[in-house]
Amino acid sequence: MKFVTAPGRYVLFLAKSIFIPWDIRRTWPRLVEQLYIHGVSAFPVILLASVFVGLTTAVQTSYQLMGIVPKYFVGMGVSRMVLIELAPVFTAFLVAGRSASSMSAELGAMRVSEQIDALTVMGVNPYRYLCLPRIAALTLSVPLLVVVMEVCAIAVALLISTLALEVSAYTFLYGVTHFFVPKDFFGGLAKAVLFGLFIGTNGCYFGFGAEGGAKQVGRATTQAVVASAGMILGANFLMALIFFRS
């Protein structure tokens, strides 16, 4: 029964967190703090991951296509793979592993130590105080990090193709630009917005739902990450149906 009502409770939680007066003046400092924790601090790991995404994608695409189709298809393959799939999903997974876990652990600890109840008693809306800045920060951070990964990964792929894979920069960029479809770029960003929303909501939802002691906090953390991964994959498929169906 709990499993059946879970989607409803999830949507209700999201509505309670978002559809409230935002009170920008009070929310702003906490939003900045969360943007710093989940966006700026994730920058180095995303940068590192994007370097390897670019390197691997270029080598793999070249291995798959070289000798079968013209060389500029390497640029096409790399750019479309990165824009449509790799950058949004990879970034979302990294952020989910990093932020959903920390958020649910933090909020779970607050829940079991009755800090959230104390906020309610003091007349502070815990959804607006705790959830809104986190969800908003994640929804904003993930697309920005996705863009960073996209540009960095394609730039690294261009570099490795030129230096080691015998594909000139002109040929590579010809493939990138020739087959570029704006829908790929904006579709990837739309995915990222949705993924960010899910990661933020999961982190808060499972943290708020923690009951008991430290064990339940750990369980909530695991649930937040697993649910985020599942929802990212599910949403990715649905977005593929919406944006990239031929």
Binding site: V32, L35, L144, L145, V148, V151, F180, V181
Partner: protein, 252 residues
């Protein structure tokens, strides 16, 4: 960290992200170029899937993008953003082509002519040379339908008869050559018979009934010849050692 510093870093992060998004979009779409572009208007009867952003190549070099595609009455008006350094002539040929053999992606191919320079505002009429698989198959189907099977059968019969006549002629010629070869072979057989007789006579000679045969087959004669040979060798050696025994030379 101070609140102000943190705010500054976050704002910077957001600005960098937005900036990268804008830069990335212009970079990936090939719009990141220096220099202004000018618009050229081309009309087509059918663009068969040409889209905004598709590349434009002048003599094989990427020099622009398709900026707008819209329907105007029964024609399609296409705005092409071209680099400033491209000087179009009035007889410029503008064609829609397919990038791949499957015909899914399009580009505009511009071929400059020798005519006078086209001033700004000159309107071009383009042609669609993109590979349309459906149209190609339809044309193939129409061509097949035009075939007359009876006519084709008659032609094939004629060809078969001609072929049979030629083969018969070749067979006759080959048969004549084979007869000639057979007669030559008979003469050669007779000559071989003569040779065989000669060899038989020689064999008889060597068997021992003749003098030569006896000489060749007598063991006693062989032993005697060998004995004589050894004695002659001994004699020669002795002569060499003691020549004075056998030769006495005196001048006075």
């Amino acid at each position: 960290m101070k609140r102000r510093t943190r705010e500054l870093i976050v704002v910077l992060f957001v600005l960098v992200g937005i900036g990268l998004a804008v830069f990335g979009f212009f970079w990936f779409s090939g719009r990141l170029r220096t220099g202004l572009r000018r618009n050229v208007t081309v009309y087509f009867d059918n663009v068969s899937g040409l889209r905004v952003g598709d590349p434009v190549e002048v003599m094989g070099i990427p020099k622009g993008r398709v900026a707008k595609v819209r329907l105007e009455g029964r024609r399609v008006c296409c705005q092409v953003a071209l680099d400033q350094d491209v000087e179009l002539t009035q007889d410029t040929r503008i064609a829609i082509r397919s990038v791949s053999y499957l015909g899914s992606d399009r580009y505009l191919m511009i071929t400059l002519g020798p005519g006078p320079r086209a001033e700004d505002g000159f309107v071009f009429q383009g042609v669609n040379e993109a590979l349309d698989l459906e149209e190609t198959f339809l044309q193939l189907d129409r061509a097949l339908n035009k075939f007359n099977p009876e006519e084709l059968t008659g032609s094939l019969k004629q060809v078969a008869e001609d072929l049979m006549a030629r083969i018969q002629g070749q067979l006759d010629h080959f048969s004549g050559q084979l007869d000639k070869f057979n007669s030559g072979l008979a003469v050669t057989g007779e000559e071989l018979e003569g040779l065989s007789d000669g060899l038989d006579s020689l064999a008889v000679l060597l068997k021992g009934e003749s003098t030569m045969g006896k000489l060749l087959t007598s063991q006693k004669l062989y032993d005697e010849v060998m004995k004589t040979n050894r004695q002659v060798q001994i004699l020669i050696e002795d002569i060499k050692k003691n020549p004075k025994r056998y030769f006495k030379i005196s001048i006075f």
